[in-house]
Symmetry: C6
Subunit: 265 residues, 6 copies
């Protein structure tokens, strides 16, 4: 099987926060395209890895960006010794071989990328490869998943209505404190007391969102801090390096964050 | 026949809402180019599939986008072992072999794409392939169809008058409630009572259009909700996943939609 | 002769409205470049086809657009088995073989396209092909014709003075009512009474120009309506499909147009 | 000699209006680059053709435009059966073989085009071909000439100071009435009385410059009118076709121009 | 080993100003991606060279810029005699062979560049090479480091939150006076008295930041001045050439800087 | 030696105005990159030619422009009969073979060009050629020089701080009157009296800078006028052709300049 590299052999750690696992399974059974909505660093990518492992399907992930073209997804002709030969892009590979195709932050891509998935995202389930005059019917196991961060969209850069309406959606957000601490402890190797303190500090940073911070500390950042602590860095230094310095350059916000952490000790 | 892949063998389900089938047949008989106008998700694509099946013509569909060039439609030279060889694009294929060519959301394309169809969309019915100095006369069965969503156009992005005036137009809109329920029931597998409740919820969402919602729930979204219900998801969860979460990120609009649905139970 | 495909064998129907045929013949005799000015759908393209047929010259038509480059007109090197070979573009073909070259809506093209015709449009009558360091002297029968829609130009997109001053101009406009009815009857197959009613309806739509309509119904649209009527569609439905729906999405303008037509019955 | 095609064998008609022929000869003797300044259609191109003929040098003319790149002037690698081979562009050809290189409306070109001429336009007289790491020393007879229309420049599009300062300049303008009539008569074949009337009409149009007209009738346009008259078109129709219709779409300006001509009869 | 050229054989001089060496070592042990933040010329590049030497890892440095594409980092197909062959870009080379990859001023790059590092900068540690449908798992020694100058960012050009949150950060700033003098003396060859005077002059220039100067003199500029002095240039001339003239064109600021230096003699 | 073409065999005439020759020699000895600052036409290019001749180093000059890319400087793969072969660009040639590389008006270039010189312009003295994964260490004699015209910069187009801080700078300006007259006389062949009069006229034009003139007459323009006079053109005509007409199109400024010259006779 061509996609063996894309099968996940070990269960990716994922701590459910609601019925998202069940809803995804039903959507997959109906082959309804799915949109994962939520801020950065709350586990959308980990979730889809977990689901691909549960469903035993290869997972083809594409990080979208504003210079990505339809050809980057669908494929292109490349020169070889016999002239040109067609090479499927990652989307075409997933469509032919029945993988889950995860388009991360699709809203960043140019419109040709979003339009190219339309005939795959309705009952037709076909991928027209216009450069080859080929109409690829999707493998029965193919599933289309996209992610979308509502905080990032602007008037100029949003999904078209005709794209949004093709997807069922699952919301993601920061997990409840005890769940998040469990995740931080599991992933970083610190004990629960340290993890809980990191989570409380993270929550305080999230309260500053909109008051000078574009976003608060994500779960990923708290795990980073935990990993530094687990290697002997002091809690203050670890929070400084993993959260405060990356997240803002504003001296006042930095002070506010430091005080918030200090008050927790 | 080169276009066998593009023939529809099974009748695509289409529930007429007026005399659109007859008008299309007359326009096809006169080979008058046709423009399908209406919002997303009301069945324009399904309609043209249905007509292609009725008329037993292959259907070549092209999803237009802002990075599409005339070459993507007409064709290009590709390198092979003997140098370059010409490969017809989807429009040229349809023109030569007598297919219906459906350019979906043509207003998204760059102007060179719309201009390239002008000589095909008047009495000349020719496609000049300038890169080959070839003038292709259209196959007698060739028919040109475009779609157009009036809600999307802006001053910057609209069809030119000289394009619009080449097409007869058919309007599409949300079907009447009983018709829409019939469609939802047929496509999703829920019974009529559930389908009617979904349609009433959908209509309420459409009343919010312009009051925070760019567009209301399309028929396609109601079918999505029906399919989740048919697989055992509760009606509230299904409407949440298939309609509310994809359509808006605004907490107030989401609440309004939830109340509208709850009031229907 | 290489341009046999571009010769018109049957007389294209053209109903003169003034002395435009004579003026064109004199300009052709003097090899003075000609600009056809007027709104869309009044017969500029048909006129030049008619003149090409009268003068027994091949006609090379190029629909200009904003992505067209000088190379699209002049030619380019293409790879073949022996490396690269030069392929003349449509303008170079017309220049070498003495065709009439008709550049439709040249104002849409990028400036390099308009500049490339300058040395062809004065007494030099040469086409410099810089990529080949070749200076092609025009065939004695070559004639350069462009079209120009005065309603479309903006400050940003207009012909340069140095281009305009190279052309003699012929104005086109909607024909007088009786002439237009004759044209509609001839082209669509309806009788004169129906044609006259269509023309009166068309004239009313033209009065709405500037009051919500960008342009009124062109002669071409009236012919479309006639063709639908000739195939059994009712006059109201035909005018709706061929004129009202394509020309505007505004419900008030649509009502005004419908009333204007109804008042004529 | 490679540039034989670019030698002018017949004297191009040029009627001097001042000491421009002498000044050009001195500048050529000093190999000082020359800029021809003036509005469109007053004979800048004809002047440089005349000078090339007088000096018996081949003339390479390049019409500049905003999509022209340095490579279009200098040259590029083209594929042939043995891989790639270098092909000189028109500027490189002129530099190597000692032609006069006339860059028409250089201000239209992108900056890389103007920068590429800098080392040719000072005492170095070299053309660096960076793609070949070659430094071409100019042939002793090479001369660089550019044209420049002061009316066209804007803040965004003007020659850089460092370009302007490399050129001596010669001003061109509409010739005095008797000289212009002589030119019109010579070039169009009408007698002096008709030519004088055309010139007076042209002068009136020039008075409207800035009052609705971007530019008045050029000498070229008056010659056009004369040629139509010489073929039997009436003076009014000829002025209408050759001057009024091309130069403006404004009905009031058109009336003013017609009255100006009528008053002359 | 393919990256032998990229190993540093001699210890690069680096004078620590805090615990940055230790923090980097912990982050490297955890393979946590690191962001070096601070103004230009304070030693970020020297620091990473020093760390690469300490850790005995090859260092692949890429200076990012706004025309850099993902292909410049990841690789591309190049033609050779057998058709096309894949050539890894510098990031892919570092990923496969376990180098430290230092992306200098990544914020200058286009978004596709920043997005391409996302799957390398979280627990997946993979580089998807979409053009080859290859998923490269990072060598265990691979480490990702970026630099970021907080003073340069604007609303239009900043790292995305989803990028920032993947990195631990280390702050860099101008060193304390005695440390900086030590560095200047060591690098330029002047004695400590001269170095201290240069550092005091540099500090005064930094006080003008925001009062007409975008940035003050960096340590690098003071070293430049020192090197001129060590070769016999007077202190005033050296400071003029190495600091004042490059940093500003404003005569008043230049005077203020000169006075500041003079007052120190 | 590959760069023999780039060695200057005859001493380029350069009249020093201060200690710039000595400062450059010290900077070259320290291999400190140098920035030549000053308006157009005051001799920056001639100075660097003179220094290259003094130091007996080949001089590779690149005129920068806004379409220049890093590849134009560094090199690119070109197709030949055996596939692709790498061709060094002018910067890479200078780096490998120890030339002085003079990037004229580097601020005009795109950012990738300025970023590519960063590792060459600090102590690393390396040129990473990313397309080849090659790290070229600079030849010991390599020296990097750029020019910069302070009058041209805008907020949008200026060198980055991190670029400026890598260079020592030398200021250039119009020479004192007696020096400038000496230069004009030497270069144009007129006697000192004429040269002095030209210099006084030039100085008056420089006083108009900011009062309608973007820049005054450069030394180069005065030399142009001198050369015309030396060939028999009258002083007034020569100043008109070489200074007044090229420098401005404004009739009032032209009159002011003419009066200024006349007053000198």
């Amino acid at each position: 099987m061509e996609l063996a590299d894309y099968l996940l052999h070990d269960e990716p750690f994922y701590r459910p926060v609601g019925n998202e696992v069940h809803l995804y399974e039903v959507a997959y059974a109906a082959r309804m395209p799915v949109m994962l909505k939520g801020p950065t660093g709350v586990g959308k990518t980990r979730f889809i890895e977990h689901m691909a492992w549960r469903l035993k399907r290869p997972l083809v992930t594409v990080a979208c960006h504003e210079d990505m073209t339809a050809s980057d997804l669908v494929g292109r002709y490349l020169l070889d010794s016999a002239g040109t030969a067609w090479h499927d892009g990652p989307l075409a590979v997933a469509v032919r071989h029945g993988a889950i195709c995860y388009l991360d932050e699709i809203v960043e891509a140019r419109q040709d990328t979003t339009v190219v998935i339309h005939p795959l995202a309705d009952d037709r389930r076909v991928l027209p490869i216009e450069k080859r005059n080929e109409l690829v019917r999707a493998h029965p196991d193919f599933h289309l998943v996209i992610s979308y961060n509502p905080g990032y969209q602007s008037v100029l850069k949003d999904l078209k209505e005709s794209t949004k309406q093709r997807f069922g959606a699952i919301d993601f957000n920061y997990p409840a404190a005890e769940v998040e601490a469990e995740i931080v402890a599991h992933e970083s190797g610190v004990d629960m007391a340290v993890a809980e303190r990191l989570v409380r500090a993270g929550q305080r940073s999230r309260n500053l969102r909109g008051h000078g911070l574009e976003e608060g500390a994500s779960t990923r950042m708290l795990i980073h801090a935990g990993r530094l602590i687990a290697r002997g860095v002091s809690a203050d230094e670890a929070f400084e390096m993993a959260v405060i310095l990356p997240i803002t350059d504003d001296p006042d916000i930095r002070s506010a964050l430091r005080e918030a952490v200090a008050a927790l000790s």
